[in-house]
């Protein structure tokens, strides 16, 4: 079966190419269906190939495709293990649903085929990332998802904001990639290869726990992860990325691409285990990000920006988990988050679609009636992210918090902050849900909300069912998800599981906190009239605490000033000044001596004659004639 794995990448790539070159000829629905079919096919291949992992009788395998950069020993190769299988299924599964949704959502767009081409390209890139058998190929996928993200965010490029957002996303990601790149250099200098297998086998033999080299590698890898997974200080691109079409936000900026950083840390678990200091840094950054993003999310008015900050916050959770060494908990939250956040985004997309592009939640309200399916499915997503039993988010979030608590000591602070984030999450998500679906309609005149077409509602329903039921995959009573991933985390110590009594206490605590947040928001936003949110906290939080401005003033503006100075002054005045000064000096010397040239040939001749005499005398002199 693994012989066919290359098709996983090849099929979406083919779809992308066909749509790119022949999309216009295929026309509107056909190109979308083609894109959908290749992704579904990839999903089926992935599912068929991963059956063995579910039954537990297949071992991880590396599939060599071809030699890529011989001098660096890099092969294009696929590492097929439960971790990559899981991500493959998420990417292609959620991807298929979002392709389906997009067929409805992008209806009537004149660049419809182009959109699906980019979407397929993204799927292919993401699969390269998750299937990579070495860091170099992973970096390829890493950059290519950045490319497809860029293309899709700025898909409506005539809007300056969309174009700028795409650029910003790519550049901020590149800053993270710089860290990744340097990590790659150190890895090669240390191990002489990029292969996961070799590195993970040799690292524990070569280095002890706490080694400087491994700490450097892991920290630099985390810089890359921070860029891709939108962690402090590189998270600023993700809210802006909401300028892209909503299904894109759902797929790339919620479910899949942004989790790549978490995936990469989980993939490098062996290295992180050797560098506890890095783990602490990762966990602290993750917690801080989760908290900051949750606070900002509370004040947002744009439905997609709430979800964007919520995504950053949830990513912070995942990063906290992998930083704390709870890799499978982190991966499980990644999985459930992929489902419910995709659901929430698609639901938001459905709403925006229905309201003809309106994204301000204060202009929604009461959509429960005209959009029943969206309402119900959205409710499932809402309860899942808030963490209500038995929705998926409850199980995964609980597991992370429990793992952090179990580390004890200073980790308890992180655990407490995690609880605060849970409270805030419950608050802002309820705010979103209530403002959108409950209460009186506040939409503009002339807007007629309507339920979306089946191509959009079917994915919502599927995702809602998963958001409800997926938690059962890994409950403290039945840790089948952890067992499933076990082959990928060989040699990585397991965090202890919870006993039933512990679980009841902790889960109960989390649940109570979530319900408090939920109730508070429900009470606040079902009032009539709605509370005015214009205090200084609300204004600053709405503006994301002006972090963009801060970066603009401290990094972008001075950088541009230096570059301008280099270009205008250093190049033109200093370097060219030296060059032109030399030229001018020579010219002046020339015109000075030219005064001696009277133009009278006779004087030249006399000069030559006298010089000739002098030469002869000179030779006579050194010849000893005098």
């Amino acid at each position: 079966m693994t012989d066919w794995l290359w098709l996983l990448v090849a099929l979406p790539l083919l779809g992308a190419l066909v749509n790119l070159f022949f999309g216009r000829r295929l026309g509107e629905p056909a190109s979308g269906w083609l894109a959908l079919i290749v992704v579904v096919a990839s999903f089926l291949i992935g599912a068929a190939a991963s059956v063995g992992f579910f039954t537990g009788d297949e071992l991880p395998e590396t599939v060599y495709l071809f030699e890529w950069i011989p001098i660096l020993g890099v092969d294009a190769a696929i590492l097929w293990d439960p971790l990559s299988a899981l991500l493959t299924l998420i990417v292609t599964g959620v991807g298929s649903l979002i392709h389906l949704f997009s067929i409805g959502y992008m209806h009537g767009d004149e660049r419809f085929p182009r959109y699906f081409s980019f979407l397929n390209l993204f799927i292919a890139s993401m699969l390269i990332l998750v299937l990579a058998a070495n860091y170099a190929v992973m970096f390829v996928g890493w950059e290519l998802v950045g490319l497809s993200s860029y293309l899709l965010i700025s898909f409506w490029f005539t809007k300056p904001a969309a174009a700028a957002a795409g650029k910003k996303a790519f550049i901020v990601n590149r800053i993270g990639d710089w860290g990744f790149l340097i990590a790659l250099m150190i890895i090669f200098a240390t191990f002489g290869t990029f292969d996961f297998e070799t590195i993970f086998a040799e690292a524990p033999l070569m280095f002890g726990v706490g080694s400087g080299t491994i700490t450097a590698i892991t920290l630099l890898l985390f810089v890359g992860a921070a860029g891709k997974s939108a962690q402090i200080p590189l998270y600023v691109w993700l809210p802006d990325a909401m300028e892209g079409p909503t299904p894109v936000s759902a797929l790339i900026h919620a479910a899949t691409m942004v989790t790549a950083g978490v995936f990469m840390i989980a993939r490098s678990a062996v290295l992180y285990e050797l560098a506890p200091a890095s783990g602490v840094v990762v966990a602290v950054v993750g917690t801080a990000t989760a908290l900051l993003a949750a606070v900002i999310a509370v004040a947002q008015t744009d439905i997609k920006r709430v979800l964007a900050y919520s995504t950053i916050s949830q990513l912070g959770y995942m990063v906290l988990a992998v930083g704390a060494g709870a890799y499978s908990a982190g991966m499980f939250h990644l999985t459930t988050h992929a489902i419910f956040k995709a659901l929430l985004f698609l639901g938001a997309g459905s709403v925006i679609h229905a309201l003809a592009g309106e994204q301000n939640m204060f202009k929604m309200g009461g959509l429960r009636k005209p959009m029943p399916i969206t309402w119900i499915t959205m409710a499932a997503g809402w309860l899942a992210i808030v963490g209500i039993v038995p929705f998926a988010g409850f199980w995964s979030k609980d597991e992370i918090l429990f793992a952090v608590f179990n580390r004890g000591d200073g980790w308890l602070i992180l655990w407490l902050l995690g609880l605060v984030v849970a409270l805030l999450t419950a608050f802002y998500m309820t705010r979103l849900f209530v403002l959108t679906f409950v209460g009186k309609p506040r939409w503009d005149d002339g807007v007629e909300p309507h339920e979306s077409p089946p191509s959009m509602t079917i994915p919502l329903i599927v995702l809602a069912v998963l958001a409800l039921g997926l938690g059962a995959w890994n409950t403290p009573f039945r840790l089948s998800f952890e067992h499933f991933l076990e082959p990928s985390f060989e040699g990585v110590p397991h965090p202890e599981g919870a006993s039933t009594s512990e679980f009841v206490i902790f889960a109960g605590l989390v649940l109570v906190i979530a319900i408090i947040g939920l109730a508070a928001a429900w009470w606040r936003y079902t009032r009539d009239p709605l509370p005015a949110e214009d205090g200084s906290f609300w204004r600053n939080a709405l503006a994301g605490f002006h972090v963009d401005d801060f970066y603009g003033r401290t990094i972008v503006a001075p950088g541009k000033a230096i570059a301008t100075w280099s270009s205008e002054v250093f190049d033109r005045k200093v370097i060219d000044g030296v060059a032109e000064g030399t030229a001018r000096g020579i010219r002046d010397a020339g015109s000075g001596t030219s005064a001696l040239q009277t133009g009278q040939v006779r004087w030249y001749a006399a000069g030559m004659a006298i010089a000739g005499i002098l030469v002869i005398v000179f030779f006579l002199f050194i010849g000893g004639a005098f």
């Binding site: 005064a595 040239q597 133009g599 009278q600 040939v601 006779r602 001749a605 006399a606 004659a609």
Partner: protein, 103 residues
């Protein structure tokens, strides 16, 4: 070669011719005659070459003389062409009237 006429004689003759050439260049105002003086100087140098070649038993001296002749021939054609061109412009071959080389 007899022992009466030594290389010194040839060299003195060459020196005399050369000095006359120098004088010609410096004193004559007719461009053509100045040119002839230059030719005379080149010839005197040739004589030196050939004489010394004989003296040292090295054929190179004669080769050098031949090269000098070639260069002289080239120089004469260009020089005369310049003189003709100047004459066409000024209707005079008086060098003192020319100051085109003024820097």
């Amino acid at each position: 070669m007899s022992d009466i006429v030594t290389v010194d004689w040839y060299l003195i003759l060459a020196a005399a011719l050369f000095a006359i050439g120098v004088a010609g260049v410096l004193i004559r105002r007719n461009a053509l005659v100045m040119f002839m003086s230059i030719e005379l100087m080149l010839n005197s140098v040739n004589l030196t070459f050939v004489a010394v070649s004989k003296e040292l038993g090295l054929i190179e001296g004669q080769v050098a003389a031949l090269f000098v002749m070639v260069v002289a021939a080239a120089e004469v054609t260009v020089g005369l062409a310049i003189i003709v061109a100047i004459f066409r412009l000024r209707a005079s071959a008086n060098v003192d009237e020319l100051a085109e080389l003024k820097g």
